[in-house]
């Protein structure tokens, strides 16, 4: 993983003809310096064995010429003998805004089922394609696509894809708001695959009170197979509060965070889930 990160960070800028020349009058992180930091970050992430964070909201934007280091995690709470308590999931990721409309990321996923040890689960390449300029149309539209390679021979690889939509609404009772929707379908591929088509949705609405602190509400849901969705009680749906914010470290980039608590809405869902996201972005 560490070697892969180094290769990606060295080769991608060259492929796109980025000079990486230092800037005048400010912090001038060379690509090699940034690359070293990121490689160390992902290397550490990989050794810590990350996991598929199921509760990650994706935005339909690409930050061109930005490198992002991201950590996502979640853990569940339920009755101790329910089999749904302390289900953990973590991902650690490096993302690069390779073009003005394409963001590509390399992700390490790990997790632990209740009562089990943390294990490395998958390596994932994910892409976000920004389809509309931010703020130009009624809503902003992007497309997400990822390929996940399972770490275990007993698990199947998978592809996940779908639209990402965001709508900014200004001056709603005196406050600006932003609303984001993800609609993602998944399909297993290769050996051990099943014919099921899981569907994941995520919705987040938040108040833009202050860039450092934007409270909101979010919903995450999962249907294991859209062809056979079953009873509502067998599906997983969660809702809860979230806080999103960022802190600029210009010219050293910025830190973003998200913290949320989700209440389970169905029998198949855990009573509670804490999710978090921490991200460091730096332009180059």
């Amino acid at each position: 993983m560490f070697a892969t990160a180094v290769i990606v960070l060295r080769e991608v800028p060259q492929r796109f003809g980025w000079s990486g020349s230092p800037r005048r009058g400010g912090f001038a992180p060379s690509l090699s310096r940034v690359g070293a930091v990121l490689a160390i970050g992902l290397g550490a992430a990989a050794t810590a064995a990350p996991a598929q964070a199921e509760f990650k909201l994706r935005y339909p934007f690409v930050d061109y010429r930005e490198i992002e280091l991201e950590h996502n995690g979640d853990t569940t709470f339920d009755k101790s003998k329910s089999g749904k308590n302390n289900n953990q999931s973590y991902t650690n990721e490096i993302e690069v805004g390779a073009t003005p409309f394409w963001l590509v990321g390399l992700e390490a996923e790990s997790g632990a089922l209740p009562g089990e040890n943390l294990r490395y689960e998958a390596t994932t390449v994910e892409n976000v394609f920004q389809l509309t300029p931010q703020g130009k149309y009624w809503a902003d539209l992007g497309f997400f696509a990822e390929y996940s390679h399972a770490a275990s021979r007993h698990d199947a690889d998978s592809v996940t894809f779908g639209p990402l939509i965001q709508k900014e609404l200004s001056d709603v009772m005196g406050t600006d708001t932003v609303h984001t929707l993800n609609l993602l379908f998944s399909k297993e591929v290769g050996r051990n695959r099943t014919d099921a088509t899981p569907f994941f949705y995520a919705w987040q609405s938040r108040l833009r009170l202050d860039p450092h602190f934007e409270p909101g509400i979010e919903i995450f849901g999962q249907i294991d197979d859209v062809e056979a969705p079953g009873k509502l009680a067998d599906q997983q749906h969660r809702v809860g509060p979230v806080v999103v914010g960022l802190h600029s470290l210009a010219p050293y980039g910025k830190i973003k965070y998200e913290v949320g608590y989700l209440f389970g809405l169905t029998h198949a869902t855990e009573n509670g889930t804490v999710r978090w996201r921490l991200e460091y972005e730096i332009p180059f």
């Binding site: 020349s21 800037r23 009058g25 912090f27 930005e66 859209v226 210009a250």
Partner: protein, 112 residues
Amino acid sequence: MRRLLPRLILLVLLALCGPLPAQAEEGTYTLTIKDHRFAPTEFEIPAGRKITLIVKNLDSTPEEFESLELHREKVVTGGQEITVYVGPLRPGRYEFFGDFNPQTARGHIVAK
């Protein structure tokens, strides 16, 4: 559910891709970057209306137009220009800065 779900998704996509309100009447403003400074450093726009902001980088080095209050960030490489869509904004003063040279590249948009 099997039939409903694709229809709902189609509805959302159609709503997005349908006759979108073209902002043809929106105002266009130009901001230049030279010697790691924005010019003008402050300008007024009408509140409640979406505007188009053209950011021209006359320097040879890249800069990132960024505003935490406007929720916009976009890199403009040396000698190039970008388009940023802003608003509609409530009346107020909104700061923007260059992420690569925040000490010198700073300015405000005033919505009235």
